[in-house]
């Protein structure tokens, strides 16, 4: 029943994303209109993929660092991505792929640095060190990019933050194809780690006794979740709340088993971001709202409602 509801909701969200938009497209021309074919449809697919990726990355990282406040950007990825994007603009790297690629490289660099810091004091990733390193690296990268922007004359640099605040305006079939080829691998790694992640919730030592190679698990989950997030940042900037709230909603309704939680996080994240992006495009048309604002406006009340129901039980 819950599953049927979620799938129905996901289909509805996707359908609305294709059917609704600021431009009026007659129903008879839906399939032929370039506005639908080359703008709405790739954007709807991208919104679903990005939302789903953020949901899965958030759920996995929350399990990894055993911290309910963890979100996909906690580990310094947003800061690294923004530094990459700002550097690309400052160095006048041209072409439509410059910004996404630079953001991706920046996010990967931050990931590498945080990973290295997380290994401090041993061969194993320490979740607490990981969180601290992530926050520190993220803050440092954000500071450097803000310094570049504030010292620069170029309006392009000031506008770089607009892109980083997140949005799916850059969606096209190329970005969709890139993400479709890229995302399945880290997603598969995380789905495969569902059972060990359940055991990790018992604590690292008990998980080890139950046959989980905790050190390897933590590395794989960390790298896969970060790779997923880095790709999401590259194509859509930093979209908040999806990766934080969707996993919690999933846990409230489906429980803590990752075999169910991860697919739920994917479908739920995709659904939330699809609804949010449709609302961002349509609500104040012809203007467009930053989608991150809408995910918070839609996601937080739902979350609060569920939280109340859950605490009452």
């Amino acid at each position: 029943m819950k599953w049927t509801g979620l799938i129905a909701l996901a289909v509805l969200a996707f359908a609305l994303a294709v059917l609704l938009g600021p431009a009026h497209v007659p129903a008879a021309e839906l399939l032929r209109s370039p506005i639908v074919r080359d703008l709405r449809l790739p954007r709807a697919v991208l919104a679903f993929l990005v939302g789903g990726s953020l949901g899965v990355a958030g759920a996995s990282l929350q399990a990894l660092v055993r911290n309910p406040l963890a979100d996909p950007y906690l580990l310094g990825l947003s800061g690294g991505a923004s530094l990459g994007a700002v550097a690309a603009i400052a160095l006048h790297v041209g072409g439509p792929w410059a910004l996404p690629l630079a953001a991706f490289v920046g996010a990967l660099a931050a990931m590498g640095l945080v990973y290295r810091l997380g290994l401090v004091g041993g061969a194993e990733l320490d979740p607490r060190v990981l969180v601290l390193a992530g926050v520190a690296v993220g803050a440092f990268a954000a500071a450097v990019s803000t310094a570049i922007v504030s010292l620069s004359e170029a309006t392009a640099l000031r506008n770089a933050f607009l892109w980083l605040w997140g949005g799916l305006s850059g969606a096209n079939w190329d970005t969709v194809l890139a993400l479709c080829l890229y995302a399945p691998l880290p997603l598969a790694v995380l789905f495969a780690a569902a059972r060990p992640l359940d055991l990790l919730a018992l604590g690292e030592e008990p998980a080890g006794y139950l046959g989980v190679d905790v050190a390897v698990l933590k590395r794989w989950v960390y790298v896969a979740a970060s790779l997923l997030t880095a790709a999401a940042v590259a194509v859509s900037g930093v979209i908040g709340f999806v990766g934080l709230i969707v996993p919690h909603i999933g846990r409230l309704l489906w429980g803590h088993r990752h075999r169910a939680l991860l697919p739920v996080a994917f479908l739920g994240g995709g659904t939330l971001l699809s609804f949010a992006d449709t609302a961002a495009r349509v609500a104040v048309a012809p203007r467009e709202l930053p989608v991150g604002i809408v995910t918070a406006l839609v996601g937080v009340p739902v979350f609060a409602l569920l939280l109340r129901r859950w605490t009452r039980n």
Partner: protein
């Protein structure tokens, strides 16, 4: 210089052939040097294209420009005094289109004097005949520039719709609250996002595509006026102006802020929009 080259080319080609406004084929062995102009409109046009020194006869009514007053009068333009015209030894007679003048034109031709009939009723006719007279007098460039100046009058009222895209992701456009909206109106075009009250606003790419502006304008930080990067982005090709490369990149120094040079900016914007035609 331009006249000299044209003359050279004309003589090199041997002869000049045109079809006049009555549909008659007229051939000159060489560019006309002695012209009798039998209508005020053609007299003014000959002076305007720089061939005034070749006018050796005019009508009583050809009183503009002032220099034309020094040219000998040969009578009226309709049913002209053929004898008085021939007395000026013209190698070209320019007549106004009417039934009587077609008879006169045949008379001149029988006397071995080429005659062209110009029908100048509408403003477009002025442009066409400026080019024809330019050719016949080896003043092609003069004729051309007069023709262009006349045609500009028609082009100015064509209200092009433009969209100022000041940032591409998310797409941000200029609304009615900006000086750019005023400048674009003064330059004879209109802003496709005039309905937005603020100076700028984020809009969906879909909205830009649906509003279908004729030209997309961006403001460059520097004087680097190459096409912006988004012009080659795949999703932007849905916007017709981008797909057809009707993208103007304006230098930020003149257009990046409201300034006392607003008049110069408007003139420059008009010039650049016209250059895109």
């Amino acid at each position: 210089m331009a006249c000299g080259r044209a003359e050279h080319r004309a003589t090199g080609a041997g002869s000049l052939a045109v079809t006049d406004d009555a549909g008659r084929a007229v051939t000159l062995a060489a560019p006309a040097r002695r012209i009798v102009s039998l209508a005020p409109s053609s007299t003014e046009l000959l002076f305007a294209i720089g061939a005034g020194d070749r006018v050796v006869g005019r009508t009583t009514w050809c009183r503009y420009p002032a220099a034309a007053l020094r040219v000998p009068v040969v009578g009226d333009g309709l049913n002209p005094n053929v004898e008085a015209v021939v007395a000026q030894h013209p190698d070209l007679v320019v007549l106004y289109a009417s039934a009587l003048n077609e008879t006169a034109a045949r008379q001149f031709e029988r006397l071995g004097i080429p005659a062209v009939i110009l029908r100048q009723d509408l403003l477009e006719d002025v442009a066409r005949d400026a080019r024809m007279l330019g050719r016949l007098t080896a003043h092609e460039s003069g004729g051309d520039s007069v023709a262009r100046a006349v045609l500009e009058v028609f082009e100015a009222p064509i209200r092009r719709r433009v969209a100022f895209v000041v940032w591409d992701n998310p797409p941000m456009v200029i609304g009615a609250g900006s000086f750019l909206d005023q400048q674009v109106a003064l330059a004879g075009a209109s802003n496709a996002f005039h309905d937005l009250g603020s100076a700028s606003a984020a809009v969906s790419l879909e909205t830009i595509a649906a509003r279908d502006p004729d030209v997309v304008i961006t403001i460059a930080d520097s004087d680097d006026t190459r096409l912006p990067a988004f012009a080659s982005a795949r999703e932007w090709q849905v916007v017709r102006a981008v797909r057809e490369r009707r993208v103007l990149t304006l230098p930020g120094a003149l257009f990046g802020r409201p300034s006392p040079r607003a008049a110069a900016a408007v003139a420059e914007l008009r010039r650049r929009l016209e250059a895109l035609r």
